[in-house]
């Protein structure tokens, strides 16, 4: 029971880190970036290449994946995405699906089509007993790391100057510009951080699942579910939504294998019908 709960929480946390960048671009910049998974894939493959080809430690690969995806995000934001902010949601959807296709083919070309994984350092392998339940060390690692990230993000957004500037830029770009805030720069930075977090999520997920070129498409649906259930206007919304979905999915498959596959989709549709803005958002927005 406790094991299942832990597995669900770890799965949810991973979903959260993978999806949070998308929440940021969608909720704060009102931009649908379905290619978000491609940045996660970039981080995942970077980890695989660094560890398997160059023998870099897993712990160093994580920040590297963040930086790599963030730079990739910043470059693409500056060259491509910046033209899309003013276009319709539909255009954004099509554009980013086009990017996903390209990313899939590029990764296939350079990395091959087969599943690739890493071997975790021995310090993260194995299981420990906790209150009588056996829990994977890596899952604990994931939970702790993602928890810290969440707190950090929440802090940055609500307590720092950058956070308040970002919120101002989002509320009304024109006014913010008038107040001397460099909106373009703030958006670029936000996008880069969002992509970087995806990269980190991708790197972390190589510890549980393996990478293949279809990753962005396969996981896109999960990201979107997290956001539509949690709403995209806060950090805490997607966070709780991820946890809910992770636990519901794992527990559902454990206790009711026959209907396990339906659970998260059903939750999503139910939430969207009852609360179109998401389960954890304030109704006023």
């Amino acid at each position: 029971m406790l094991t299942i709960l832990f597995d669900g929480v770890a799965y949810g946390m991973l979903l959260f880190v993978l999806a949070i960048g998308l929440c940021v671009t969608l909720g704060l910049m009102n931009f649908i970036n379905l290619a978000h998974g491609a940045f996660a894939m970039a981080g995942g493959y970077l980890t695989i290449v660094m560890m398997n080809r160059y023998g870099v430690s897993f712990y160093w690969s994580l920040p590297a994946a963040f930086v790599f995806s963030a730079i990739l995000g910043a470059v693409l934001e500056h060259t491509l995405y910046v033209h899309l902010y003013t276009k319709s949601h539909l255009d954004q959807v099509l554009f980013s699906i086009g990017l996903v296709f390209m990313a899939t083919a590029i990764v296939d070309y350079f990395m091959g089509a087969n599943q690739q994984t890493i071997n975790l350092p021995s310090s993260l392998e194995g299981r420990v007993d906790f209150l009588g339940a056996s829990i994977g060390v890596y899952r604990i690692f994931t939970i702790v790391l993602c928890g810290l990230l969440t707190i950090g993000l929440q802090f940055v957004l609500s307590k720092t100057r950058f956070g308040s500037r970002l919120r101002a830029a989002v509320d009304d770009g024109r006014v913010a510009r008038g107040m001397g805030i460099d909106v373009t720069k703030i958006f670029a930075l936000t996008f880069a951080v969002g992509s970087g977090l995806a990269g980190l999520g991708g790197a972390l997920s190589t510890g549980i699942i393996s990478m293949d070129p279809t990753f962005p498409l396969k996981y896109m649906i999960y990201f979107l579910i997290v956001i539509s259930v949690g709403g995209a206007t806060t950090i805490t919304g997607p966070f709780f939504a991820s946890l809910l979905l992770g636990v519901a999915d794992v527990a559902g498959k454990y206790y009711m294998p026959a209907v396990g596959g339906f659970i998260i989709y059903t939750i999503m549709v139910a939430v969207l019908i009852l609360r179109p803005q998401g389960l954890f958002t304030r109704a006023s927005r």
Partner: protein, 387 residues
């Protein structure tokens, strides 16, 4: 009267059309493979296997030039069917081959029957497929052929209870069914049968459930190319620590992926007909050429099936002296026996089913790489479902 004339005209038109076909100097082989999408790695291995065969044996047989046309069906059945029709009608291929998944073979079956073109099943492993068309020949293997040996081995080696975890699609369900049947016949007990969705990224719930049932062994089956994720999570769940043996068909410890799985899979026992490590001169030559032609890729069970598929076609053409007539070719394919890199192979003369040699293997480290090392030869296994 008029009808008869028309019929006569039609007949002569067919005869005319047939004449140049006979005289043609090239024999075309159409391969329908998943080159993109979820099954892409399967497609790559199959294509690589064909390339290897051509590199070893050249493109000429019985005075004919062999031309291979590869089409990407992205692993989607309705596209495969269309491609098969186009290959037959436009490219006038004499043989079809490939088919990454059971439904794809099922979709192509009617085309093969209608066009009277032999179709070589290289990948699809559900038993019933081969019965869908009299022009189907299987050169791979079927689920019962793979699962019987491991079920027998488990029963003989102290495994009393087992849980099965398979992908929820036809071969997976076949695997579950035949493992349970054979294992329980041998006196074992299957405690539960778990099915994970085909596109499941997280096996945690299923694995935990299997672990909580405390069986002696956990039997696994997932499609080739998808074992890496599963094994990662199996290792993470520490079955060894709970004294649960993990056994599987060879698809899980796929040669293509094995090296990336790491030392944690050392000692895992599986059953299959092919290992890149198989000790025979035929296999040594095969692996060597394969790696040379395909950028140091390691061949897996898909590659060998494609290789043997080409072998069957070449030998059939030799037997017909280059006649690519579908009826003659399929007759020449039935009952073939030859020495394959995986050992002595045979095509059943009546059921058109492959009879591959089966082995029990254990993952070991050799020359710094992980291999499925064969330690028990089961011998040829006939598919028990065909009457």
């Amino acid at each position: 009267m008029r009808k008869q004339i028309l019929k006569g005209l039609a007949a002569s038109a067919i005869a005319l059309a047939a004449l140049p076909a006979l005289a043609q100097e090239t024999v075309k082989i159409g391969l329908i493979l998943p080159m993109t999408g979820q099954q892409a790695s399967t497609g790559r291995q199959l294509e690589a296997g064909v390339k290897t065969y051509m590199a070893q044996h050249g493109a000429k047989v019985a005075g004919k030039t062999i031309e291979v046309i590869v089409k990407d069906d992205t692993g989607v059945a309705d596209i495969s069917k269309r491609l098969a029709q186009e290959l037959v009608v436009n490219d006038k291929v004499s043989v079809l081959g490939g088919f990454g998944l059971t439904p794809i073979a099922m979709a192509v079956g009617p085309v093969a029957t209608q066009a009277k073109v032999p179709a070589i099943i290289m990948t699809a492993a559900t038993s019933v497929v081969v019965e869908q068309s009299p022009y189907f020949i299987r050169v791979g293997r079927t689920m019962p052929q793979m699962t019987f040996p491991i079920a027998d081995w488990a029963a003989k080696n102290g495994v009393k209870t087992a849980v099965t975890l398979v992908s929820d699609y036809a071969p997976g369900i076949d695997g579950e069914k035949f493992f349970k049947q054979r294992f329980e016949e041998a006196g074992g007990k299957v405690l539960d049968t778990l099915r994970a969705p085909l596109a499941s990224p997280d096996f945690a719930a299923f694995l935990q459930k299997a672990k909580d049932l405390k069986p002696d062994a956990l039997f696994l089956f997932v499609p080739s190319g998808q074992g890496a994720t599963l094994m990662k999570q199996v290792i993470d769940r520490d079955f060894a620590g709970s004294k649960i043996r993990v056994i599987a068909t060879g698809d899980v410890t796929d040669d293509d992926l094995l090296n990336s799985m790491g030392d944690s899979v050392l000692g895992m026992v599986t059953s299959h007909d092919y290992s890149a490590d198989h000790d025979s001169p035929e296999n040594k030559a095969f692996v060597e050429t394969f790696k040379k032609v395909n950028d140091n890729l390691r061949p897996n069970m898909m590659a060998i099936a494609a290789y043997d598929g080409m072998d069957v076609i070449y030998r059939a053409l030799e037997a017909t002296k280059g006649d690519a007539n579908g009826q003659k070719l399929i007759e020449a394919m039935k009952g073939q026996k030859w020495m394959s890199p995986r050992g002595p192979m045979e095509i059943d003369a009546t059921t058109r089913e492959a009879i591959p040699p089966m082995y029990i293997r254990k993952v070991e480290r050799k020359n710094g790489e992980l291999y499925n090392v064969e330690f028990e030869a089961v011998g040829p296994v006939k598919d028990p479902t065909h009457k």
